[in-house]
Amino acid sequence: MAVADARAMHPSLTLAEADLLAEAALLASIADWCRRFTPLAAIDPPDGVMLDVTGASHLFGGEAAMLDEVERRLAAQGFAVRVALAPGPALARALVRFSPVRCAPAESSPEDIANIAAHLPIAALGLAEAARTLARAGLRHVGDFLSRPRAPFAARFGPDINARVDALLCRAREPISPRFEAPNYMAERRFATGLARLEDIEATLAALSRELCALLERHGVGARRLAAAFYRVDGAVRHIEAGTSRPLRDPALMGSLLRERLAVLDGDGLDTGYGFDTLRLGAMEVERCDPPQTTLGPACDSSGVASVGGEAPDLADLIDRLGARLGLRRVLRLYPQDAHIPEFAVAALPAAYAPTGPSSRRSCEPEGSRSGSRWTASLQARKSIGESLAPLRPLRLFERPEPIDAVALTPDGPPLRFRWRRALHDVAAYEGPERIAPPWWRVAGEARTRDYFCAEDREGRRFWLFCEGLGEREGAPPRWFMHGLF
């Protein structure tokens, strides 16, 4: 109906622009909320939510009781809601929109399903074009379709129509695509009334960690990524996640990691409001984690969990704890790279996701053996070329070189005086140049040759400067930059 017609019928009609984004967000939050019933919840656009409740309905007292529960809780939140349950998603989708039947039980026989489906209108197949043509031919219900041979339909409307019918009759398996993957291992607590005190929530999380760890232990795995979900009684859902640097199966450590995440949230996040009535803790990613071999010698692993990641366990725990509060991207380890340009010679990668090479299995080796270190080669190189008294590289490097004004006697000579951050420095001693050229296989003109100098000013401060560009040869006039401090 056009707006003008509607206005003519009801002059007091209020019009509002459809906000599709807000609707999608609301639908997503409803789907998240529905994950309290089952971990597999998918959005069924434009206005539906699809839950895979296989194996979950008995927790709510059977299928009919579960449907009632979903309907009651959503209605309590103010939604006009229709629910239906069927052995397949297509049938459920059709029942909820076109049929008074609410529940086709999982154990229904194919005949029962065909009976239920027969009363659905053709539109339930979801093929608008075909539905119009079929209606003109006098076929109004799916039953009319079922009682006739299928081949002519496929010839007329394409093979899609038969696939739709099979899906509707639950003969073909049709998966749903859930919004979040279901955790492989999870533990859950439900409460009659909401938990509002943070202490209670933490205690519950500790209990859940114990449950989850027992589960993980039985399967011989440890968690690499944990996710906790909090379902508030008024429908809001909060998620927290914590990553670990090695497979974790220690309830105390798990609890402390989650506490750190909660503490960070506290400023703006975990608003307990009326309280949370369902708490769920899942291990989203797991890795094999065998119990450690105990030896008679000095133990190299004091906790009960093997350190597959290879760190000393205390250090790995520390990395996890710092990462949980500060963010995993802020706890870094440094790795050498095959590059001569100084800023690319080292990569800082999150310590939690760091590659575990042979070098990281050193915790049990005799001390002093550096055989595995990634840095060994260059450590030895330093010994052989290190006749210079000044260190070759600065202790501090700026994230990006800062432009400075420098005066040099000759175009390729050392700086005599330079101005950095508005302060003038006179060079009293220097060493260099050390020429670092950009890789020749790169496009010329993008990167330019650098001449590095280590310069000491009259007050004894040391700087690592470079002059970019070799005068006329590379086009633009040379520019000076400050790159590091000693």
């Binding site: 250090l315 840095w375 260190p391």
Partner: protein, 305 residues
């Protein structure tokens, strides 16, 4: 050296010879020609007592404890960070299996950059033993330092913060001191913003160093001046003084003179600090021994400066 007499000296000499041999007979050319003051040749064991209060403090910090490091002037932050690194390295050499956690605040990274792994490596530490933590605010820095100090796996924590000295007070420092006592590592807190205010704020930390970049008196500077050439810089050097030292288990304190500045040189090979005497110039680049294997074969490995 110490009271234990000649056997320790002989042990030291043996080690020195072994070190020379390990370098392919090049000799101690690297440091042999430079005058140094008293040698503090290796980290002491727990319990042995050195006579110099400064050394004693360095050692005392090494068995766990909390020190503050304050730059003497604005612009000396990098020198103070270098000194903190030297102390951390010293502690690391005592506990070869543990790691160092370096906490760098974003503001400090903007001012003096981030620790550079190639430089750390050049100074003699395996960067694999380092964990770099980047924080946004001083509060996070202090929290991360406290957590790290409690851990048993860390030899030293270096935290660089841009906290105002007024905001960093007794309470914050007391927490760190208590955490350091519980854990095994040494805490080194670099207060980069407090340049020049080392004597002007209070905290609960037992030790506070003030560090400046060092102007080493070079012998023969006039020769270079006559030749109109600039010399090359020597090994890393700092000037440091103890602003505050609470009487520890070794009874430091009374004989530490806060007005006494000490020139220190860092020796990365042995991971220790030495007193610097006026330096002679290192040989100019062209005069240094060629360390390529071919050249060594040519000279029978005996050529030295």
């Amino acid at each position: 050296m110490s009271q234990s007499g000649s056997s320790e000296k002989i042990l030291f000499l043996r080690r020195a010879i072994a070190a020379i041999e390990a370098r392919g007979g090049q000799g101690n050319a690297r440091y042999g020609r430079i005058g140094y003051g008293r040698l503090n040749e290796r980290p002491r064991r727990f319990g042995s007592v050195s006579r110099d209060p400064f050394e004693r403090l360095l050692d005392e910090g090494a068995v766990g404890g909390m020190s503050e490091i304050v730059p003497a002037r604005p612009g000396d932050e990098a020198a103070a960070a270098g000194f903190a690194f030297a102390l951390a390295l010293r502690r690391l050499s005592m506990r070869p299996r543990s790691g160092v956690v370096w906490i760098a605040e974003d503001m400090v990274a903007r001012e003096i950059g981030l620790p550079y792994a190639k430089g750390l490596e050049a100074a003699g530490v395996d960067p694999e033993r380092l964990v770099l933590v980047r924080t946004r605010r001083p509060r996070e820095t202090l929290w991360a330092m406290e957590e790290t100090l409690k851990s048993k796996a860390v030899a030293a924590v270096v935290a660089e913060t841009w906290i105002a000295p007024g905001a960093y007070g007794l309470e914050a420092s007391r927490r760190l001191v208590v955490a350091a006592r519980r854990g095994a590592g040494a805490g080194l807190l670099l207060l980069a913003k407090a340049a020049g205010e080392a004597a002007r704020f209070t905290s609960a930390a037992p030790t506070r160093f003030e560090v400046a970049s060092s102007v080493v008196q070079r012998a023969g500077a006039d020769a270079f001046a006559r030749a109109r050439r600039l010399p090359s810089p020597g090994p890393p050097a700092w000037r440091a003084r103890i602003v505050k030292a609470r009487a520890g288990p070794f009874g430091a304190g009374a004989d530490c003179d806060p007005s006494c500045w000490r020139d220190l040189v860092f020796d990365p090979d042995k991971a220790l600090l030495r007193y610097a005497l006026p330096l002679r110039f290192p040989a100019a680049l062209g005069d240094r021994p060629d360390s390529s294997p071919a050249a060594q074969r040519l000279c029978g490995g005996r050529r030295s400066v």
